[in-house]
Amino acid sequence: METAELVIGSKDENGNGNGAHAAPDGGGAVTPADDLGRLPALVESLLFAAGRSVPLSQLIEALDGPSRAEVLGALEHLARTYEREGRGLRIVQVAGGWQLRTPAEHGPWVRRLLRERPPRLSRPTLETLAIVAYRQPCTRLEIEAVRGVDAEAVLTTLIERRLVRIVGRKEAPGRPLLYATTREFLEVFGLPDLNALPPLRDLGDGAALLAATEVKVAPEGVEVTLESPPPSGV
C-alpha cells in the first residue's frame, strides 16, 4: 500500500481530492498547512540529506507529485515552525535554493564544538568583494580605481577562497581578465541571489554634490594656517 507516491491533503474531508490542491499557477496560493500532510517533514528530510542549498526545481523533481505551490507551502510551513518553536535550525533561501542552517545566535556553541577557525574577512577582502559583486563582470583596473590600491593580491586570495572567479576577458586593449562572484559567495554571505545584495547608497556624482553645497573657494587658503596641525618641530 505504502509506496513512494505522495498524496497531498485528506481526500476524506473534501469529498474529492482536487479541492486540496492549490491552483497550479497561482504563485501566491499556498496550500493550507493542514492539507500538506507529511510534505513538510519530507521536505525537511530532503534538505537535511542534501546539506547544501537545493533548488526548488530539484525538490519538486525528487518529490515527484506535489505541485510547485505545495512544495513552496511546505517550505514556508517548515520555516515558520522552526521559527515559532525556537528550534535549532532555520530554513534559508540561499544561492538559488533552500538550505537548512543553524540560527546565528547558536553560532558560538557550534563553533566551539567544531573547533573551526571562522573565515577571516578583512576589510580589503570585503571591499574588493563588494566592488566585484556590484560591478561584475569587472576588471582589476576597475576595482583598483575605486579602492585606490593594488588589487592583485586580494583578488588572488578571493579566487583561492572561491568567492571570485575569472569569467573571461574584456574586449578592450590588453584584453584584461574579467572577475565575477561565485555561487560560494552567495552561500557564504547567505544571499538568495545577487539581487539580494544590500543596495548601494545613491550619493550622486561628485560635481553635483559640490554644487549642492556652498563652494568656498577663495578664503580657504587663509583658513588653513589656523587649522593646520601643530608643526612637528614644537
Partner: protein, 271 residues
Amino acid sequence: MNAPCTVRLPIFEGPLDLLLHLIKKNEVQITDIPIASITDQYLAMLEELPELNLDGAGEYLVMAATLMYIKSRMLLPSPGEDPEVEEDPRAELVQQLVEYQRFREVAVALGERNVLSRDVFAGPGEPMVPGADHETPVRDASLADLLDALRDVLERIRPPRAHDIQREGLSIRACVARILAGFVLGPRRDFASLFGPDADRAEVIVIFLALLELIRLRVVRARQAERFGAITLELAVGTVEEATERVRDLGQTEQWRGGEGQDGDSGARDR
C-alpha cells in the same frame, strides 16, 4: 624633532582610506573638503607612517601629488573672468571618495551578514552524484568551468605521505587512452570520475591536460547543466573505437605526440 605625543596609527588600506579618516577626524563633509588643511595633515600622516611598504608607497605619493595640485589650483586666482563657471578642482577627488565610501558601506554590511561557517552552519550532507539524470547538460563548459572543477579535484587530494613511493610516469597519451576507455561503459561520464581516489597532484594534472587535448580535438565534449554545476563529459563521436581512430589520425601531427617524441628520454613517456 621628538613628536610631543605618539599616536598609534590605525592601519590604512590606501590613500583614499587615509583621506576618509582625515575627513572624519576633521568633521568636515566629503563634499566640502578644506583641501589645504587636509593636504597638510595628509602629508604629516605620511611622514608618521613609519614603514610605508614600498608597494603601497607609490599610491600614497600619487595622492599627495594630487592633493597638492588641487590645493595649488584652489589658491590661484582662476584665469577665467567668471569663477562661477569654472569647475571645482576638487570634483574628481570628491567623486572618487564618494564612490569609495559607498563600497565601504556595503563592505561593512556584507561583513555583518550571517557568514557561513562563522555565524551560521550547514550540515555537510550526502554527496550528490554529479551529473545524475536530473541534470541534463545544456551548455558547453568553458575553460573557466573546467578549471573550477579541476580545483575541486585538487582540493580533495590528500597531502603527500612522508614516504612516497616513486610513481610510474604518466603520459598525456596514456591518459587520453584511459579517458576514452572509460567511455566503453557509456557515452557519458562525470568529470570527477576521471580521477581515482589515489590520484596525486601530478596525475590529476596530466589527466586534465589529456582531457583538454580531447576537447580540443573535438572527440569529447564537456557539458554542464548550469553554471557551477557538475561537468559531464560525453563522446562527441559515435563510438570509442571511432574516438581512438580520430585521436590517432589527428594526434599524429599534433604537438603532444611530437613533443613526447622529441624528449623521448624524459619521464613523460609510456613505460
